[in-house]
């Protein structure tokens, strides 16, 4: 002991003070501050997302329409990337330094610590070469994915395609998707996205500082397994669909075939189409732009998006509605002097001088005059003001599924157009207008817009004698073969069964009577009931329309065919419909080969030379000068070559 003995307490005090500081700091970072626990998890934990197989889509007979093919996505976690031999890296992937820089910057901007897609869909060969060198490139890894494959390249616009989610979709689904994930963009892929995508699994693994896997986190108790997407059974008949597509090559238009008893869509053709396999893979973006810029608009889904004035096929509806209103009967006769006079000087021409004809004949011979009178009775002589009568008429027509979307299981279906009385009042400037003001509605011209799907649905109503099921493309979902409830409910058109008989008789004669407008499309042992239409087109040649169902009793198929700029319905649309019906009912074509070939080979695209037709002698269309459009080789289904017809 010496005189400085008391200084020991100072030194002890310093030791104790320092210890308290250390403990305080430790208490703060270990107990109070949670940040470090998160950082530790970020260091060690990697969530591997296990992507389930997307549900496949089959046709009604179980044949594959869409299946999956494995591809390999190259992922990157930018924070873990060490200096690397960019030249070798790019060489292995077959990309340029510029691509590399761009992709890497994009990934870095997204997140330094989270994986983002670096290069998508490596081919099996690229993957094999790259996999061997993968250990040289820390921060990069390969994720197995599957892409869609369409073995027959059919029904592109209806099956739809999948693509990377965009920001809007990420927001909409509230974080379900991550950047780089795929989502259905159009068609069935979009409308059944929640069922097709399945459930993603997550595997939590631990990695060391070199990002090498070190086993499952907590022996995998937080892991979830991936559940494959539901299998969809489409109502499409693949053979019929392919046959229809071959018939529609080099034509603009639609074919829609519905099974009347169920509302199932048997075939749906939008022409020109494209090969759905082109919307998969690395060239997708380029192809997409090409389709978008194509003047014939292959991305336009005509059966549900193209709206046409229906033309003469609308007479079927007017005949039914007028009977239901008890303003005409099967035995109502009108005289056709070759046209219908209305108003002070109005005259609506008819194709022939039909003389005095009844309802059946009016359908068979498509007499405009008859429907001029009929429409006038419904609007002007219904015991009420014309504007109210029109309203009643419109309600009856709307029950046929016209003017509103039918609710098919596809996105972006259009409503069509069925004008309200207010519309005419506005145009007429007061509500004192009569049938003379919109007489063209009597024959399906004027301010009407009907999609081919709606046309086919009208035929389904006629075939069923008064009701329809909402048309749909998916008839069964998953293993349990569930069907959406809305597609099992009958919708009534509000027409009594008995009123269909004269109309159907007329329609039968259209095809089966020698002077019917579509006699050329008659099939020997199938009684087709149909109606031709020629839609006036202010922009060019008239559109050829034909609707039908068959057989007459216990119908199995209802069909609508629209070929744009092709003239009379009987010339092109009716034979196509007739072949489709025969193909579906008989599975073989009884007519001579040239009959089919004439249709397959015809090029009816605007700006092409008009093909010589053997049956159009009856009444040649007004072949005026076609609008000058650049002739661009259309996209065709790959199995059929584009042939020029002289």
């Amino acid at each position: 002991m010496n005189s400085f003995f008391k200084r020991r307490y100072i030194i002890q005090g310093i030791f104790i003070l320092v210890t308290i500081i250390l403990l305080g700091r430790l208490f703060y970072i270990q107990v109070i501050d949670d940040r470090y626990k998160l950082s530790a998890d970020n260091n060690v934990l990697r969530k591997l997302i296990i992507y389930p197989a997307r549900g496949i889509i089959l046709d009604r007979h179980g044949k594959v329409l869409v299946q999956n093919e494995p591809v390999y996505d190259l992922m990157v976690i930018p924070g873990q990337v060490k200096a690397l031999d960019t030249l070798e890296f790019c060489g292995l992937l077959g990309i340029t330094k510029k691509d590399f820089d761009r992709s890497f910057k994009k990934a870095k901007n997204y997140s330094l610590y989270r994986a983002s897609l670096f290069q998508k869909q490596l081919s099996a060969r690229t993957y094999a070469g790259f996999q061997e060198k993968l250990f040289d490139f820390p921060g990069f890894y390969v994720q197995n994915r599957s892409v869609r494959y369409y073995p027959d390249s059919t029904a592109a616009q209806f099956l739809g395609y999948i693509g990377e989610v965009n920001d809007k979709e990420i927001e909409k689904y509230d974080g379900f998707y991550n950047r780089g994930d795929y989502i259905g963009k159009t068609g069935i892929e979009k409308s059944y996205e929640e069922l097709l995508r399945g459930q993603r699994g997550v595997r939590n693994i631990m990695v060391d500082v070199h990002n090498r896997e070190q086993g499952s986190f907590f022996d995998g108790i937080y892991d979830t397994v991936a559940v494959s997407g539901d299998r969809l059974i489409s109502s499409l008949d693949k053979e019929l669909q392919l046959f229809g597509e071959s018939l529609m090559v080099n034509k603009i238009g639609s074919v829609v075939a519905i099974e009347p008893a169920t509302g199932e869509i048997l075939a749906s053709i939008s022409s020109p189409g494209y090969d759905p396999n082109l919307m998969v893979g690395r060239q997708r973006g380029n192809n997409y732009m090409r389709f978008l810029n194509d003047p014939y608009k292959p991305m336009f889904i005509r059966p549900i998006q193209a709206e046409y004035p229906p033309g003469s096929i609308f007479k079927v509806i007017n005949a039914l509605v007028a009977q239901q209103m008890q303003l005409i009967t099967a035995n109502t006769y009108y005289n056709c002097p070759g046209g219908y006079r209305y108003g002070r000087r109005g005259f609506m021409g008819c194709t022939h001088v039909h003389g005095t004809i009844n309802l059946e004949q009016s359908i068979e011979e498509s007499c405009n005059t008859y429907y001029g009178y009929t429409y006038s009775r419904m609007i002007d002589h219904a015991g009420m003001r014309p504007v109210n009568a029109y309203k009643r008429w419109r309600e009856s027509v709307a029950k046929f599924g016209i003017g509103t979307a039918l609710g098919v299981d596809l996105p972006a279906e259009r409503n069509g157009l069925l004008p309200t009385p207010e519309y005419y009042t506005k145009v007429f400037k007061n509500d004192k207008w009569t049938s003379s003001f919109n007489i063209s509605l009597s024959i399906g011209q004027g301010e009407l817009g009907i999609t081919p799907l709606q046309m086919a649905n009208v035929m389904a109503i006629v075939a069923n004698r008064g009701f329809y099921y909402k048309p749909h493309l998916v008839k069964a979902i998953g293993e349990k073969k569930i069907i959406k409830k809305e597609y099992t409910e009958k919708n009534y058109a509000g027409i009594d069964r008995k009123y269909f008989d004269p109309v159907i008789e007329g329609m039968s004669r259209v095809v089966n009577a020698p002077n019917g407008t579509a006699y050329f499309s008659k099939i020997m042992d199938i009684e087709i009931c149909g109606k031709t239409g020629t839609v006036q087109n202010p922009h060019g040649a008239d559109h050829s329309v034909f609707v039908a169902f068959a057989p007459r009793d216990n119908p199995k198929i209802a069909i609508a065919v629209v070929v744009e700029n092709a003239g009379y319905g009987a010339t092109w649309s009716a034979p196509i419909a007739s072949l489709m019906i025969e193909k579906y009912l008989k599975d073989s074509i009884s007519r001579p080969k040239y009959y089919t070939e004439r249709l397959v080979n015809a090029n009816l695209l605007p700006g092409q030379k008009k093909p010589v037709t053997k049956i159009s002698a009856k009444k040649d269309s007004t072949t005026a000068a076609k609008p000058e459009r650049k002739a661009v080789l259309p996209i065709s289904t790959p199995k059929l070559k584009v042939k020029e017809n002289e």
Binding site: M1, F4, R25, L26, V31, K37, S39, A40, V44, M206
Partner: protein
């Protein structure tokens, strides 16, 4: 107690030995956790934990041998130990192996000798001998200058290696001098220098000088009657000014780039979690993720998967913090505090000033290692590579700490005798 020879072992302070053994045991378990690998059997002599086991056995043997030596031996031979150490420190500069930028090791067979570790107790012994001579007064320059020289020579040689961490340890011996009569102004001056150094780096010089002027003005105003004090303040102010201007010079020209970065990081001047800040960041993450109770033995992911560097040696405390949590950290720190207070207690109960001074030196050295090492792992100090006594992996460090401590125990066991 009366018969020194017979009661020899009863005079050894077993409480200190208990603390010593428990620290080594904690060290071994944590080294084992840091290198743990499921494929490996528990004890593998090639792994760090296996080697550490050998070092522990050697340390215990060395400790026992020291207890068997005569106490006078240390007093008499202290100049020789010191001389040998100085020679080794010179030799290491010539034949030493350069590991990680420091020329600090002399390879002997498969082991590497680190002379700076042995310099700690050799210097302590000689310092104790110098200060135990009768009539020494640290207020007297005749005593102070040789004392500073004894400390300064090894520090100078160690800085040449350069091993800033070990050199820093020697500065902690200023507490020994303080205990033995050094004016407290030296401590206060040292504290002021540290504060000025930090402030000068954090703020621009002008602000620091303005601040100092304000403080000076206040002091002069308060003590305006006392001319002598005013003179002291003014001198202090001028010296401070000189120091401030030298900080820049030292910082720019004398410190190594990595040392500058480490200081910048701790002061928050730069942030670089991927580069220079990586070690400290990962170390904090490991300790912080331990939580209150820790992740459990061998369950630490940060240390096991090598996110923390140097995890068996300088950053061994990360394993403690991660696997044992705050409770484990508290226990380890408590053991150190007990050991330090016990050493002070042992020192104060010595009759000879040689033993007392040596005891204080031991306490200061252990304290400096303990504080700097743990403060570094939790981001309170810049990264300074010195081991955690008795816990960190490494033979030189463990054995030299054992020698350091057991010489004190030997002196203590003989405290009733006369040296």
């Amino acid at each position: 107690m009366n018969n020194q020879n017979r009661s020899f072992f009863f005079n050894v302070d077993f409480f200190t030995i208990l603390l010593f053994l428990s620290l080594m045991a904690i060290g071994w378990f944590n080294i084992n956790a840091a290198v743990f690998n499921e494929d490996q059997t528990l004890i593998n002599l090639d792994s760090n934990s296996g080697k550490q086991l050998i070092f522990i056995v050697i340390a215990i043997v060395v400790g026992a041998v020291i207890l068997l030596l005569d106490s006078k031996f240390f007093y008499l031979f202290s100049p020789i130990f010191y001389g040998i150490t100085i020679l080794l420190l010179i030799a290491v500069l010539v034949v030493g192996r350069n590991v990680g930028g420091n020329q600090a090791w002399i390879p002997i067979g498969s082991f590497r000798l680190q002379p700076s570790e042995f310099a700690k107790w050799a210097t302590s012994l000689l310092l104790a001998r110098h200060l135990s001579v009768m009539n020494t007064k640290l207020s007297d320059f005749k005593t102070l200058i040789p004392a500073v020289a004894i400390l300064g020579l090894p520090v100078f040689l160690i800085i040449l290696q350069p091993d800033a961490g070990s050199a820093l340890v020697f500065t902690s011996l200023i507490f020994v001098l303080y205990r033995e009569g050094l004016s407290p102004y030296y401590l206060i001056a040292g504290l002021i220098m540290v504060i000025l150094f930090i402030f000068t780096l954090l703020f621009t010089k002008i602000y620091v000088i303005v601040g100092l002027l304000l403080v000076l003005g206040l002091l002069i105003y308060n003590f305006k009657r006392n001319r002598k004090l005013i003179m002291v303040f003014v001198t202090g102010f001028i010296l401070s000014l000189l120091f401030i201007f030298s900080v820049d010079f030292v910082y720019k020209n004398i410190l190594k780039p990595h040392q500058k970065v480490r200081i910048d990081l701790i002061l928050g001047i730069v942030k670089d979690p991927k580069g220079a800040g990586y070690n400290v960041d990962q170390s904090k993450i490991a300790i912080g993720s331990g939580g209150l109770l820790g992740k459990g033995y061998l369950q630490g992911t940060q240390t096991k998967f090598n996110f923390v560097p140097e995890q068996s040696t300088d950053f061994i405390f990360c394993t403690v913090g991660e696997e044992w949590g705050f409770v484990g950290s508290f226990v380890v720190i408590a053991i150190y505090l007990m050991l330090l207070l016990r050493i002070l207690h042992l020192a104060e109960r010595q009759r000879s000033s040689f033993s007392r001074v040596y005891g204080y030196a031991v306490a200061c050295i252990v304290f400096c290692h303990f504080f700097v090492n743990i403060a570094m792992t939790i981001g309170l100090m810049p990264v300074i590579g010195i081991p955690l006594p008795f816990i960190s992996y490494g033979g030189s460090s463990l054995i030299s700490f054992t020698i350091l401590l057991f010489i004190l125990l030997k002196l203590d066991s003989n405290r009733m005798g006369i040296i």
